[in-house]
Amino acid sequence: MQLMEFKKLHNRYKAVVIGGSAGSFQGITKILSGISEDFPLPILLCLHRLKHVRNGFMEALSIKSLKPVAEPYDKESIKRGKVYLAPANYHLSIELGRTVCLSTEAMVNNSRPSIDITLESAAYVYKEKLVGILLSGANKDGALGMKAVKDRGGLTIVQDPAECMIDTMPQAALNVTEIDYTLSVDRIVRLLSELNKLY
């Protein structure tokens, strides 16, 4: 029996949602390049980004993280092991059949895509099978989403505010709900690697 560093990990998880805003780009690329190619779960990235620049961000992310990142089409099926990025100027939510649903609804927390929308819809669909991760950011988007993940029995992780370039976002989540792990990006990578070993 292997000694696990993160005792709450479990092989029931089916998806990972990562939210981030100002100061999260480095963390995201570190996480994506740190996890092995055979990481079994789909990873959905909801990152605040320029609303009117459609191209370039996904490409930069793919290059920096050595992992193919795709912006999904509306109603695209979510597949294991793939990394999806919420497109600029759209909210991304998850439908019950585990497909992506895009929307141009009003901004939430001054953001489109809004991390709350992605996390809340993912929590509804995946319930206790979801891992929610919230990184550095300058507003409170994502805090209520993390609460939704926790309320449905999912695993909640935030980047250690001490390490964040701007800690408003993870701090807001810590203030509204129980967070299972508060970790540096390096340890988030380690946690995901350990999670990988369970599959």
């Binding site: 089409y73 998850i94 609804e105």
Partner: protein, 274 residues
């Protein structure tokens, strides 16, 4: 407020269908549920059952409900590169064969797209050769589209898009600011026909050279997308064009093969088969 269950949504859509003839059954659940949740908050209703009661008893409220449930967030020249593509390739192509052009804005919302089109055609010097129909299921938003009064804050974004579109005029010439609001120059849409039409169970009423249905079908599930595409297909002349949102795809639809993708980046399709 208690959590909204799928069964509540079913009851709601059935009531609306039976009483008013609108069919929301095949709207995408995640966004539709979020819209319903918003309506409950807005009108301080404690449950979907209360909403159903209010809708059943009050026809005027139902009109408000329609306005709130449909998404009316849009901007002029959204995706400026799309509009450049229309100006530089699609519209000149249509005009190769005849000197008139017919355009349908399916799901025109508050009219920003209609004004973008009119400005584009005006700058091309062909606005008078265009027959434009703009439809939506929401009477109130159609009135707003015709009135064309926008917030000055939105006009800043619209202007930024217009500049990225590389319009050949001066954006400020197309509207006037009075009492803190922007009034569009209505002569731009004097020949546009704004009318109520429901894509879900509406009959195809005409044929067009170019149909714009951008970021409308994202609110539908795949079953309904499939069905709506069949109507849109009927509403387009052979070799006419269909434009959808930049993150929409037809590949899951049964009749996708009746269209050819002519610009994948801008999601412009050409109807190649009847």
């Amino acid at each position: 407020m208690q959590e909204i269950q799928i069964i509540d949504i079913r009851k709601l859509t059935e009531t609306i269908r039976d009483l008013y003839g609108f069919d929301f059954t095949n709207y995408a659940m995640s966004s539709f549920k979020r819209r319903v949740h918003r309506v409950l908050e807005l009108y301080r209703l404690g449950s979907v059952d209360q909403l159903i009661r209010k809708i059943s008893e009050n026809q005027e409220f139902f009109q408000e409900f329609i306005s709130e449930i449909t998404v009316n967030v849009t901007e002029m020249f959204r995706d400026p590169s799309f509009w450049r593509e229309l100006r530089e390739n699609v519209i000149p192509n249509i005009l190769l064969n005849h000197n008139k052009i017919s355009i349908w804005h399916a799901g025109c919302s508050s009219g920003e797209e209609v004004y973008s089109m009119s400005i584009l055609l005006q700058e091309m010097g062909i606005l008078d050769n265009a027959r434009i129909v703009a439809t939506d299921i929401d009477d109130v938003i159609l009135k707003n589209a015709e009135a064309a009064v926008y917030s000055v804050k939105n006009m800043e974004l619209n202007e930024k898009n217009y500049i990225r579109f590389r319009g050949t005029g001066n954006f400020h010439d197309y509207y006037e600011v009075k009492n803190g609001k922007a009034y569009m120059d209505k002569s731009l849409v004097k020949d546009v026909s704004f009318r109520n039409h429901d894509l879900v169970n509406g009959v195809v009423f005409s044929k067009f050279d170019l149909v714009l249905c951008r970021n409308v079908m994202i609110y539908f599930n795949q079953t309904l997308q499939n069905q709506v595409l069949i109507s849109l297909h009927e509403g387009i002349f052979k070799y006419g064009y269909l434009a959808i949102g930049s993150k929409e795809s037809l590949i899951w639809c049964d009749i996708a093969n009746k269209f050819l993708v002519v610009n994948n980046e801008e999601k412009i399709h050409k109807k190649i088969k009847e």
